[in-house]
Each structure stands twice: as C-alpha cells, then as structure tokens.
C-alpha cells in the first residue's frame, strides 16, 4: 500500500478505504445550483410531482357505462326495489349478528414505560382472570413491572434477580441478531398474575390441546410488549427451572415487541430463536442432533419439512403431533421433535462457519416476516437460499452431522 500503513488482513488498507469513503461522500453531495434552485421551489410551494398521486394509492375508481333505456317508472321502480330487497337479504344483514369479538388483548406500541404499564393494565381488564384488581406500577433497573397490589412478596431484590435473567437473554439476542435488535420496540412490561389459577386461565388456552406444564411460570403474550409471570416466580429462590422458562419467554417477548402491527414470526422461527438463544448454541446443537437422530432411527419423526415451515401456531402443531403419535396414551410426546427442528434450523441458518450469505438471507427473511410478509414453505426455503424445503432440511441435517 502506498501510504506505508499496514493493510488489513483482507488486503484493503485503512487509509485507502478512508480515501475512497471521502471521495464517495464528496460525490454523493448535491450540486450547489441544484440545491439552491430546488430549495427555492420547495419553500415557495411551486414544486409539483411529475406523476399524479402517490405510488401505492389505489387507482381512481371508474364508473361503469350503463346504456340509458327508456323503462317506464311503474316497471323500473318495483323491479329496483325487488332487486335491492334480494341483495339485502343475500348480504346476510338480516342474519343474527355474530357476538362481538373480545377486545384485542394487551398494549398498543407505546414508548415510555409508564404509558406501556398503563396500556397493559387497561388491556388486562379484558381478561376475567386479570380484571378488577388494582396493580402496582414498579420500574426496577429500568424494567417496567405490573404487580398485583396485594403482593406483599414483591421484593425489589427478587424483581432485580428476575430482571437480570431477562436482561441476559435480551443481551444474547442483541449480540446474535443486532439487525433485529435495532428495530423499534416498546418496552416489555412484565406482569405478574395474582395467583396460579389466573395465570393458567390465560395461558393454558394458548397451548391447548397440549397441557400446560406445572413448572411453566412465564409466557410472552401474543400481543407485543407483555411478559406474564405466574406468582411463584416471585417466591425467594423461585420454582425449579425458573431461569430456563423466563429466558425462553423473554426471548419470545423481545421478538414479538419488534413485530410491526399484527405481523408475527412463523412458529418455527419464533420457537427456534427462543430455544437457541435461551439454551446456547453448542448444547442446543447436540440436543437437536440427538432428538432428530433418534426420531429418524425409530421412524417416528412426525414432521415433513413443509409441515415444520408451515406450522401456523402451537395448537395446530400439537394436534398434528397427536394425530401421528406412536402411542395413543402419550399423544404429545413428540412435540420436542418440533423444537429440535425449529432450533436446529435457526442455529444452522445463523451459523457463519461457511460464510455470511446464509445468515444474511435469514436476517433479511426474518425482517420481512416481522414486517408482515407471509411466505409459504416453498417460498421460505427459496428466500433462505435453497431450492425447496427438502433441500434446506438436507443441508441442515448435513450440518448437524446426521
């Protein structure tokens, strides 16, 4: 390099790079005359777009041309009335009205912690299990909490402890997926149910028909920004496996908070990221290899590649597992195989051993999914750089050593 400085390992010297960046910055500046002329017209309001309307606007409605005919009123009016009456009846307006949908649970995206807590509290009122009780608003280490007002056990120390689990999980995600971390997100409010029954009343239907585990104490509510805890989590020492459940749910909540509007990540990506991030890469890779290897060797893997990628929600996935259970008395024993597929896919797609192209494709696809783009199994595989779902899974298997 001419500047005499040591070039970087990739052969591009820092000075050379700075020079090119300087030139790039200079050439990407508008000309002075252009700036002045455009500024004048913009400020005066005399600048007009070259094309009518804004891209994305619906095209103008065109009226249908109906030839005029001389139909006598005594024929036209009753005929029109009969047609309107028929259309009205067919439209279903005379049918009994369907019951009003319950309000969408939990908060809209809000910025400040206090606003988020107030919004979470208002939406909680929609749930009989959580309604009608006053809540304490607490902010501990910058993390907003909603606690039942009678909760005498709400020790700051225990909240800090639980908050540190969540912070560690979030930090891991920021490191693994900085592009996703940079998406705008409301603060996640951690809400503690008044008792175990209230927690189960809200959470169990989300997993049905899969039974809720006795140790499940944390749940990321599908509407963004709320992590619900069962009150045992606040007991000193906590229940068994507390950190695993909280890490896992905190990852779901983190991801959901970064969804735009009603967009949600597909189940495999959601579960895969949560599992891989909460339990760590090497241990998860080895667990996935073992679970998938065993299920293959016994011929009991219930999923095709398309079914993993297309699984819409936990309930439908569990029902599919139940319908293919090798032993009827244990219908859901193969649900962990789905987790093994999901977590190994995410680990494989984010692994950079063979370069960054695979990870970049995954992050691009995930960004689009969080923005609301829905892709079927084949399109998902293509977006991730594979010919079809089978090719994606075959590459994943080779990576796992299966």
């Amino acid at each position: 390099m001419s500047d005499g400085r040591e070039p970087e390992r990739d052969g591009i010297g820092e000075e050379e790079l700075a020079r090119a960046l300087r030139r790039a910055a200079a050439e990407a500046r508008p000309r002075g005359e252009f700036r002045d002329a455009l500024r004048e017209r913009f400020a005066d309001g005399t600048l007009a777009p070259s094309t009518p309307g804004t891209p994305g606007e619906p095209p103008p409605v065109r009226a249908l041309r109906v030839p005029r005919q001389n139909i006598p009123r005594w024929v036209a009016y009753p005929a029109a009335a009969a047609i309107l009456a028929a259309a009205f009846a067919l439209s279903g307006a005379l049918e009994p009205r369907a019951p009003v949908e319950p309000p969408v649970p939990f908060p809209e995206k809000v910025g400040a912690a206090e606003s988020a807590m107030a919004a979470a509290e208002r939406r909680a009122a929609a749930f009989p299990a959580l309604a009608g009780r006053p809540w304490q608003h607490r902010v501990v280490d910058g993390r907003p909490w909603l606690l039942p007002s009678e909760a005498a056990f709400a020790e700051g120390k225990e909240l800090r402890n639980l908050g540190s689990f969540m912070a560690a999980a979030e930090k891991g995600l920021e490191k693994a997926l900085p592009e996703i971390a940079a998406r705008p997100a409301p603060p996640v409010v951690t809400m503690v149910a008044g008792d175990r029954a209230a927690f189960e009343a809200l959470v169990a239907p989300q997993f049905a028909p899969y039974p809720l585990g006795d140790y499940t104490i944390a749940f990321a509510v599908p509407e963004p920004g709320v992590l619900l805890l069962s009150p045992e989590a606040l007991a000193p020492g906590g229940p068994p496996c507390e950190q695993i459940y909280i890490d896992h749910a905190a990852v779901h909540a983190w991801l959901l908070a970064r969804c735009r509007g009603k967009a949600r990540p597909p189940l495999w990506a959601d579960k895969g990221i949560a599992g891989a991030a909460a339990q760590g890469g090497p241990a998860t890779r080895s667990w996935c290899r073992q679970v998938l290897g065993d299920s293959r060797s016994h011929g009991i893997d219930p999923f095709s590649p398309d079914e993993v990628l297309a699984a819409a929600d936990f309930g439908s996935m569990a029902r599919l597992v139940g319908s293919r259970a090798p032993r009827a008395e244990e219908p859901y024993s193969l649900v962990p195989v789905f987790y093994a597929h999901a977590e190994s896919l995410v680990l494989f797609l984010t692994d950079e051993e063979d370069g960054t192209a695979r990870r970049d494709a995954f992050v691009r696809w995930l960004q689009a999914a969080l923005d609301g783009t829905v892709t079927d199994a084949a399109a998902t595989a293509r977006a991730l750089g594979f010919a079809d779902p089978a090719a994606l899974f075959a590459a994943r298997d080779r990576w796992l050593g299966l």
């Binding site: 390992r9 790039a24 910055a25 508008p30 400020a43 777009p49 804004t54 809000v110 592009e179």
Partner: protein
C-alpha cells in the same frame, strides 16, 4: 435518515416520534416558507445520498429523483403521521417509491432513459452493467464502486470507523448494540467489500 428517541406521551396515546420536527412539518404543510426551508435543509443531503447510490451513482438521475421526492413530499405533507416515524423515515419511503417508479420508466419502451438504461439499472437490484464492471476492476474506482454497492448499514459502519474514526465503543453506543456485535458487523462489511472487489469475501 436515522430514527430518533421516542418522546413521552400521555397514557394510551401513541407518542410523536419527534415533537419538535412534527411542529415544523405542521407549519410547513400550512404554507410556512421558513418551515419548509428548514425541512429541506435538514434532509436534502440525506435524500440525495440515499438516492444517489441506488441509481448507479448518476448525478443527473439522482437530481431528477431527489426533485421528485421533495415534490411528492410537498404535495402530500398533510399525510405525514408523526407517530409512525420521523420525517426522514417518511422521506425514505417516498424515495424508495420514486426510485421504483424510475426503474419502471427506464424499462418501459420509448422512455427517455431507455436509450441508456444500464447505468441506472446497475444500481437497482437485479441490474448489471458488465462493460462498466470490467472497466472498473482496478484502482480506487473499483473500491468506490464496491463501496456504493454495499448495503447502507455496512457503508455507514465503514464510514463511521474509517472516515470519521469513531471507536468501536462509540459506534456500539450509536447503534445501541454491543461492541462485539459492531466488530462482527465490521468484519462482515469488510468481507462484503472484498467480495465486491472480486475476492471471495473470506479474510
């Protein structure tokens, strides 16, 4: 066109992303000349640069699109919703649409740009200009072309690190991420640059 910190909002209301700017936009849409000039001064460079790299580094085309962006912004300023992002983000959306329209026009038969569309299409996804690529293989021009083809986030990172000489810690703070993540992204940015220069991208 980076976002800014969210402001406090009353309970239940969606906060305005940048209240000071929202007030300027309101005044501008009511016809306040000074407010319009302030918005223009704040965002012209960012819009132009955003467009410039996406149209194959052609100043004439960049000027055309930039003018279109500000014209559309002026015509539809009343549609800007300050709770959904700052004015720069809104202009970014208009810019993307204007570039897409330009690409459609460039591909349309009989368009003014159709006589020489390759440099324009070269800057758009899927477009290539093999002759220009071959000519630009050596020297600083090649580096410049590789830089302009990088994703914006990578180009920003390299600019902060090697042009503005910011530390990894400062960049991490600016991007609200960890130093380790910044180091990883810098490595990937350099690898992408190397790949753009014709290498295999590996260090």
């Amino acid at each position: 066109m980076e976002g800014r910190e969210s402001a406090e909002a009353p309970a239940g209301e969606v906060p305005v992303v940048n209240p000071e700017e929202a007030a300027i936009v309101r005044a501008a849409s009511r016809g306040d000349r000074d407010a319009r000039a302030r918005l223009f001064d704040r965002y012209l460079d960012a819009v132009y640069e955003f467009v410039f790299y996406r149209v194959g580094r052609r100043p004439d085309v960049a000027e055309e699109v930039t003018q279109e962006v500000f014209a559309r912004a002026l015509a539809h300023m009343d549609r800007y919703d300050p709770t959904r992002g700052d004015f720069g983000q809104w202009l970014g959306g208009i810019s993307r649409n204007a570039i897409r329209d330009l690409a459609r026009r460039a591909r349309a038969p009989g368009s003014a740009l159709a006589s020489d569309p390759t440099p324009v299409l070269g800057g758009l996804p899927g477009g290539r200009d093999p002759a220009a690529e071959a000519a630009a293989r050596d020297g600083e021009e090649a580096l410049l072309r590789a830089l302009s083809a990088l994703p914006e986030r990578y180009r920003d990172l390299l600019r902060w690190k090697y042009l503005e000489e910011q530390s990894v810690r400062d960049i991490a703070r600016r991007r609200q991420t960890t130093e380790k993540a910044v180091e990883g992204m810098l490595g990937r940015a350099r690898a992408a640059l190397r790949e753009g220069l014709g290498g295999d991208g590996s260090e």
